[in-house]
Symmetry: none
Subunit: 411 residues, 2 copies
């Protein structure tokens, strides 16, 4: 280990921050159009670059994007989003468990009329700790936010290589043929999942709350849609992979789940909601505080992505300005290495994730960072940065190196 | 799929366009010395970069270069040039067929005196559809342009892992020992190819046209040289790999062959000869027209490469100016994403392909392209482009992403 390895790392990911030129912003991106004195100072005093989450032009989901940012190749470590969602709401998974994302939904005449049952709170229907046993298989359920329900399926001879029960479209029937091959595992998983769905649909539709709602003409649920099946596997935690003690500060469940998957502690911050009302200042304040306890503090900021997905470029610009303001206290610190970027671009005019690269900056003590000519943080200025183009899988090594925590390869 | 995916892609490859500084052009490259207002406009309004066809310093043939441009890793999908040549002149290949490029040649005293038999037209000698059967193997022949003959070898227990009959040098004997190992496949292939060569040499030398030419002291042929053996395999077409309907506009047979190999339709354009007299304007006009029918239109422009191979830098500069003029109508379009680059560099002073990288630009609607500071298209200006350095294998993903046609990886 090198001489100076006392520096802590703060890894900040602003979800979906990257964008494309927007006519109404005079062909600037929301980030370029925003007033961001703190990010600009980081760009000027730091080293900048252009980050491709997976590789050039590849369009990632947030789950795979974060695995790569943490240094985990997705081909080896990604098994399906259900795992992260289940971990993210605080359930414990064992090796081999199958995890699902679930939705309360409304089905009429065999067809889905509302995939989210009017976003009714699932906690009204599903007990805090619910288990269902079918043959030798045990299901554990926990209500998530709004209509969401996390589901664990635990037993022998099961597979996550199945299709979603959720057909992802309206007026379609829930999928019942979910096996993808004729293995005994597929056959058993399909049979028991179907029995479970029948049991749950009966349970949900007979629940007094739903009976009442239906009578009153309000949105009600009578079905449980499952998707994103993933088999939980034990992965080497960050403490083992990089000898780092790491924690996560995030409002969104998915990000907590991925962080937990790679062995981070989850720090709950009051006011961190992952929504527009989220308290970014509180998150950064807590991140600074946690550098006392952890080598790496991961901070996830969600809402720029959500605004992009509804095309609200003005809101996105304003949210980026709030992000920028929240960063001010970090720039007072003299013993942290800060990485700031996104997990993927979400161009407002596409209203979807894209494979466009992201601006990225590493900022820290003056003697530890090789600076470049970039004076402003943004998609275009960072193209000229000293880090050039790199993939997300490089981040952890860059940060370990700069902070003096990188192992020697060879002798 | 994203919201805005209506944009069509035009992929233009100017063969061998890259070069090195040339003293007589005041140390500019032919591209830098050329007057190219349209390419310069694309550079200014688009995003630029430096493309390595395979990787830094690797010197590619046109066949491997094009496979990579279309997104097919050559280690997996390249089996030998014969396949592309045979497909390129419109013959049909079945899985497992061995395809060869053939030349009419002149042999005297057992040694090759002209590898191309004075470039005499092979159609004077070889019937339009010729088949030869030896044991259980069937050969199909078709005359190509000038001295060229395409040959398919169809049968069981054959291999393409053999040397060329063509020794590629004058005064050498045609190679008869072509097997590279002692497998039964190599033994059978060598034996039958040799019988075929004997049969064909007899057929060619006894042809009245050759008898007459020899008597008159004109170039004549008496031998068939084979090279570039490749085993045809079924590859996933672009329609399957990227969900793209694609077509090819090219004068040169090789490029049509590669395009056909990856599942493109071949659009014939009158005046597209692949030679100096080729009608570039007609090709671009047709490309624009075909964006109505196809998601991706590939346009290949050959002759800058041919001029480079004879060291004609002045001619290359002029041909590049013709390319530039032909592009004007594309810049009137508001719904296309255009990629322009080469397949490899061919420095005029080397008179051969090189591993020097190529300038590249992506141009399209203003809200879809992240611009950069590049103001002029050329080897050096593009070094500062926003795409940085990339490999040809990245192109398709970049274009799918920008045009909104890229699949989501993860959730």
């Amino acid at each position: 280990m090198e001489k100076n390895n006392k520096n802590k790392i703060i890894l900040i990911i602003a979800d979906g921050i990257g964008d494309r030129p927007i006519k109404e912003l005079e062909y600037k991106t929301p980030l370029e159009a925003a007033n961001t004195p703190n990010l600009d100072r980081m760009a000027k005093e730091g080293i900048n670059g252009t980050m491709h989450t997976v590789d050039r032009g590849i369009r990632p989901g947030s789950d795979i994007a974060h695995l790569l940012i943490f240094g985990y190749p997705y081909r080896k470590y990604y098994s399906g989003r259900g795992v992260f969602e289940v971990l993210g709401i605080g359930m414990e998974l064992h090796h081999g468990d199958i995890a699902f994302r679930g939705n309360l939904a409304t089905v009429e005449g065999g067809k889905i009329v509302d995939r989210r049952a009017g976003r009714m709170e699932s906690s009204l229907i599903i007990p805090k700790k619910m288990t269902v046993e079918i043959e030798d298989v045990k299901f554990c359920l926990k209500p998530g936010s709004l209509h969401r329900v996390a589901v664990i399926m635990r037993g022998n001879g099961l597979t996550s290589n199945i299709q979603d029960i959720d057909p992802h479209e309206l007026s379609a029937e829930p999928r019942r043929k979910i096996s993808l091959d004729s293995s005994p595992e597929s056959e058993k998983t399909e049979r028991i999942v179907n029995e479970f769905i029948d049991y749950m649909s009966d349970f949900i539709s007979k629940h007094p709350e739903n009976v009442k709602r239906k009578k009153e003409g309000k949105p009600y649920s009578n079905f449980l849609l499952l998707r994103g099946a993933g088999k939980h596997m034990d992965v080497p935690p960050l403490s083992e992979k990089y000898h780092l003690k790491a924690c996560c500060i995030s409002g969104g469940g998915l990000y907590k789940g991925i962080a937990k998957y790679v062995g981070m502690d989850i720090i709950e911050v009051e006011g961190a909601t992952g929504k527009l009302d989220t308290d970014l200042n509180a998150k950064i304040k807590e991140a600074i505080h946690q550098t006392k306890n952890y080598d790496l503090v991961f901070v996830h900021m969600k809402f720029a992505d959500s605004l992009s997905e509804v095309g609200d470029f003005k809101g996105k610009k304003e949210f980026i300005e709030r992000i920028d303001k929240s960063l001010a206290p970090i720039l007072e610190m003299d013993n942290v290495i800060v990485f700031f970027s996104g997990d993927h671009s979400t161009p407002c005019k596409l209203q979807a994730h894209s494979g466009d690269p992201l601006p990225a900056v590493i900022w820290g003590p003056k003697e530890m960072i090789q600076t470049d000519k970039v004076e402003r943080f943004g998609e275009r200025p960072c193209q000229e940065g000293g880090m050039g183009h790199f993939n997300a899988l490089n981040i952890m090594h860059k940060l370990l190196n700069i902070s003096g925590k990188q192992k020697l390869l060879g002798a």
